[in-house]
Amino acid sequence: MGEASRISRYLYTVIVLFLIWLFLTASLDPQELEIGLLLSLIVGAFTYEIFTTNGLANLNPKRIAYAIAYIPYFLWAMIMANLDVAYRVLHPKRPINPGIVECRTVLESDVGKLSLANSITLTPGTITLDVDGDKYFIHWIDVKDDSVEGASKNITQPFEKFLKVIFG
């Protein structure tokens, strides 16, 4: 995926920053809005180069829709993960069977990989140890299948269908 134009990237950054500003202040006071916009413009100017490669393309409605849909899915997975934790922590025998397994991902974008890694970390029994290209090394508290394919199926694939659309 090639880089978007500078203007597109800058505008995208400013928009995101201004949205964050709105959340931070949650105020429609024109003074806040003016200063917020000014600061977004300034900070954006310094940071857009590292912030985004896609620029405004990220605001594609399909992506946003998938992203919104991803939230409940992910939250559910996370709550499950925590119940799993509760079980393991509170169980007197500490039923664990840990190890480091390798998975593969189909995701290509950096942000996509980051989201996948974070999702893995926050969901049942897994933490991303390292990412090298398309290889994910994952510490798994209860190793069920130590082959690459088996692990991928268990760990990465459930998230990828969303993330593939959101981040490419």
Partner: protein
């Protein structure tokens, strides 16, 4: 072992003594004298809602000028002590894609938030120093994630200097307009923002000074980090 025992005995006695002294300053009692004056007058005298900020920048602005100076000294001192003709980062491993990408996403936000902190100094807790520290954290993250990252040194040093000069200049303008060094001429002479107390564009020169401080602290702390993370390259 004996040394440790002696140290403990000694410290217990000293601690008891300090406690004795503190017993004369009962916890939670209202002993405000000057402070009550601040609380009673802060809004109309300085335009700030945050009394701490008013104290820091306005009533005791002289301290803050000193504080800025202290940090400047530290930055200069670290730069001087770790000065090398050629230097380079020595980190061995690059951060993983998780860290680098996370940093990319976070840096603009952290910087914006830093600016938010110092621009709202007169309304909320915070101000130039936490704001500056937040901004410096953004640079720290860049350093941590990318082993090849370097701050634009020269620009930062000049920013530091300019920010410091601006602070003193604001004070000197006060001296020439109001007759006193560090006089808040925006609030007290121009009466700018007096109808606005509690909103962003108020607080006299506090937002200006906090912006200056925020920039200065941000660049200084980043400079310190930069100096500490680099080692001499022998050639």
């Amino acid at each position: 072992m004996l040394k440790r025992a002696l140290a403990i005995i000694l410290l217990l006695i000293v601690g008891y003594w300090l406690a004795q002294g503190l017993a004369g300053v009962p916890f939670g009692q209202d002993r405000m004298l000057v402070a009550q004056y601040y609380l009673d007058n802060v809004k109309q005298q300085t335009g700030a809602v945050n009394a701490v900020t008013a104290v820091v920048v306005n009533y005791r602005g002289f301290d803050t000028l000193g504080e800025v100076t202290v940090l400047f000294i530290a930055s200069t001192g670290v730069g001087a002590l770790l000065w090398r003709k050629k230097k380079k980062r020595t980190a061995k491993t690059e951060g993983s894609i998780v860290l680098t990408t996370g940093t990319r996403l976070l840096v603009p936000f952290v910087m914006l938030f830093g600016a938010y902190i110092f621009i709202h100094g007169h309304l909320t807790p915070g101000g130039g120093f936490p704001g500056g520290a937040t901004i410096a954290t953004a640079f720290l993250l860049l350093y941590l994630a990318f082993i090849t990252y370097e701050i634009p040194h020269k620009g930062f040093e000049k920013t530091e200097g300019l920010a410091g000069m601006s602070y003193v200049l604001v004070g000197l303008i006060g001296l020439s307009i109001g007759g006193y060094f560090l006089f808040d001429w925006i609030w007290q002479t121009w009466n700018f923002g007096t109808e606005n107390v509690g909103r962003l564009l108020s607080g006299g020169f506090i937002p200006i000074i906090y912006t200056i401080i925020g920039l200065k602290v941000g660049t200084e702390l980043s400079g310190i980090i930069d100096n500490m993370l680099k080692e001499e390259v022998s050639e």
